[in-house]
């Protein structure tokens, strides 16, 4: 019971943080796009997706975690090999994340 209460408290905490984290992720996406999907802005965007995937899983938001992980995986070859970013796919994943968060 105590464990459930603790987990629920953590969920509430992270639910309150999610809108801010999505804003941060979308800002990073805009900056990565403006930089031609290269360099530090792209690395930041990839890292934020990675972090959101990890944090979402820890705080009990599997859908958020899964979508963020898909975004991270989509960006990995762009980051590592200079593969072209599929902007439509990125936009879809970000929109799905917004929907999952409910903001």
């Amino acid at each position: 019971m105590e464990r459930d209460a603790g987990a629920e408290e953590l969920r509430r905490y992270f639910a309150g943080r999610l809108p801010l984290r999505l804003d941060e992720l979308e800002d990073a996406c805009r900056e990565a796009r403006a930089a031609g999907w290269r360099g530090t802005p792209l690395r930041t965007f990839h890292r934020l997706a990675h972090s959101l995937a990890g944090a979402g899983a820890i705080f009990g938001f599997p859908e958020v975690s899964d979508l963020a992980r898909r975004l991270e995986r989509h960006l990995k070859p762009v980051l590592e090999n200079g593969a072209p970013a599929d902007e439509a796919e990125v936009a879809t994943l970000l929109a799905d994340l917004r929907q999952a968060v409910g903001v």
Binding site: R3, G6, A7, L10, Y13, F14, R17, R21, R43, T44, R47, H50, S51, A53, G54, A55, A57, I58, F59, S65
Partner: protein
């Protein structure tokens, strides 16, 4: 005298005195240096280790910050995120291994990348253990204590 099973390279410097005093129990784990760039994971892990585990935790958001505060805090063990901006976890571990005071400090990686070849790589780098993300906040302290005990078994 050192116990035959003792993994001396993984022990903090004061541990030798502990064993010489004849107390063969595992020395207590008290101080954790937690290095993680994600602010929310910082919160939940610190809560888990402090409130649930009764440990003293110093949270650092980067490898550079952790290195600058290492001596002042004097951790028994380091929990280290792998993917961080600037200095990543493996680079920080490499740096620690070059510092006389931290050469033998146990370092545990925390990462979502836990395929067998990745874990083998972390161990080759000198990691004492690897904790998979996502971790369960309610059992994180127990996991860390279990690792600590295994290092002194």
């Amino acid at each position: 005298m050192q116990s035959p099973g003792l993994r001396a390279p993984l022990l903090p410097p004061w541990a030798a005195l502990w064993y010489e005093a004849g107390d063969m129990a595992t020395p207590p784990l008290r101080r954790i240096l937690f290095v993680e760039d994600d602010p929310d994971i910082q919160v939940v892990a610190a809560l888990a280790l402090e409130a649930v585990g009764g440990l003293s935790v110093l949270v650092c958001g980067s490898g550079a910050e952790a290195l600058s505060r290492l001596t002042e805090f004097g951790p028994d063990l380091v929990l280290l995120d792998v993917m961080m901006p600037g200095m990543d976890g493996p680079t920080m571990l490499e740096t620690l291994r070059r510092l006389p005071d931290a050469r033998e400090l146990p370092v545990v990686f925390m990462t979502a990348r836990v395929q067998s070849h990745e874990v083998a790589h972390y161990r080759e780098l000198g990691a004492a253990e690897v904790i998979a993300k996502p971790f369960d906040p309610m059992t994180l302290a127990d996991t860390v204590q279990s690792i600590w005990r295994s290092l002194h078994a």
